[in-house]
């Protein structure tokens, strides 16, 4: 009886350890590879903006290419929040994509705001793997130039 119970528990422990190894290695490798793959192409991030001279409305489009160099699918999301001097959110946009291993996708964030109303921008980037159960996210605030929107 002891042997049977002990064997079942030992087998469970081995299964759990193997699961731990698979989850941590595949997800952390895929997340870090995607991050490194994307940072290598940071110069490919494009900021396109058009300003209506009559109304002063700015249409800003940020294109972020993401390459998954990992071994499992990752879910990548990018969000931009434009904030005025008094802390009000003037405009926000976000996009997310599920990217398979070896694939490259472009995330597109679009925001529309009045020129001169934006004081800073909250940027966030999140990469999750293994059914979105393991993840890494970055968020930062950048001061915008006097033109009123983030410069490239």
């Amino acid at each position: 009886m002891k042997r049977k119970a002990s064997k079942i528990l030992s087998a469970t422990i081995i299964v759990l350890y193997v699961s731990l190894l698979i989850v941590s290695s595949t997800s952390l490798f895929s997340i870090s590879s995607t991050l490194v793959g994307s940072l290598e192409r940071v110069e490919d991030v494009r900021f396109d903006s058009t300003t209506n001279p009559l109304t002063g409305v700015v249409d800003l489009a940020v294109r972020v290419p993401i390459r998954n160099r990992g071994i499992i699918e990752v879910n990548v999301s990018v969000a931009v929040k434009l904030v005025s001097a008094d802390g009000t959110v003037v405009a926000e946009g976000s996009d997310s994509r599920r990217i398979g291993p070896g694939e490259t996708e472009e995330l597109l964030v679009v925001a529309t705001f009045l020129r001169g109303t934006v004081d800073s921008a909250d940027l966030s980037f999140e990469c999750r793997a293994f059914f979105d159960l393991v993840g890494l996210s970055f968020s930062m605030r950048v001061e915008t130039p006097t033109e009123g929107y983030p410069s490239p």
Binding site: M1, A5, L9, T12, L16, L20, V23, V134, M140, E143
Partner: protein
């Protein structure tokens, strides 16, 4: 004699894994990487030196517990206590590493980066922490089962 040798070898394993290897790897780091360790502490608040010191202490604790476990009989209450303590110390160590120095974060490490307007990085490893909890629980159950049946089979 065989029991003592097994106890010493298992204790050595923990000392090498947690106490010697981390300290040695930090000591052998090239100078330029050592400056990164300081940068990580200054900009992200992750004290690698402190983490290695904790690993050293935990390694010594695990080695002592492992030695005591191997030197006691499976049916003794001492053996069970030491086995459960080992699980608890090992679990604390894994939570400490997953939380990048903060075991109370339960695998959700939040790093505030001192850079310009300020940035935050969040490392979500809660699934790994849950698997760790499961491993600790099953290992503890195994120790209790072994203790219970060893007591029954104990020679009179």
């Amino acid at each position: 004699m065989r029991r003592v040798l097994k106890a010493v070898l298992s204790a050595m394993f923990y000392i090498i894994l947690f106490s010697i290897l981390p300290s040695l790897s930090l000591w052998l780091l090239p100078p330029e990487f050592k400056s990164y360790v300081l940068l990580i502490k200054d900009y992200a608040g992750i004290d690698v030196q402190f983490m290695i010191t904790v690993a050293l202490v935990v390694g010594l604790m695990l080695a002592t517990l492992s030695f005591a476990k191997n030197m006691t009989y499976e049916w003794s209450i001492m053996n069970l206590t030491v086995a459960l303590l080992s699980e608890a110390v090992g679990f604390y160590m894994s939570l400490f590493l997953l939380g990048l120095g903060n075991p109370l974060s339960m695998g959700l490490a939040k790093i505030s980066i001192n850079y310009g307007g300020g940035a935050t990085a969040i490392l979500d490893l809660r699934l790994i922490a849950i698997l760790d909890i499961a491993i600790m629980a099953v290992s503890a159950a195994k120790s209790v089962v072994n203790f219970y049946y060893a007591g029954k089979e104990r020679p009179a």
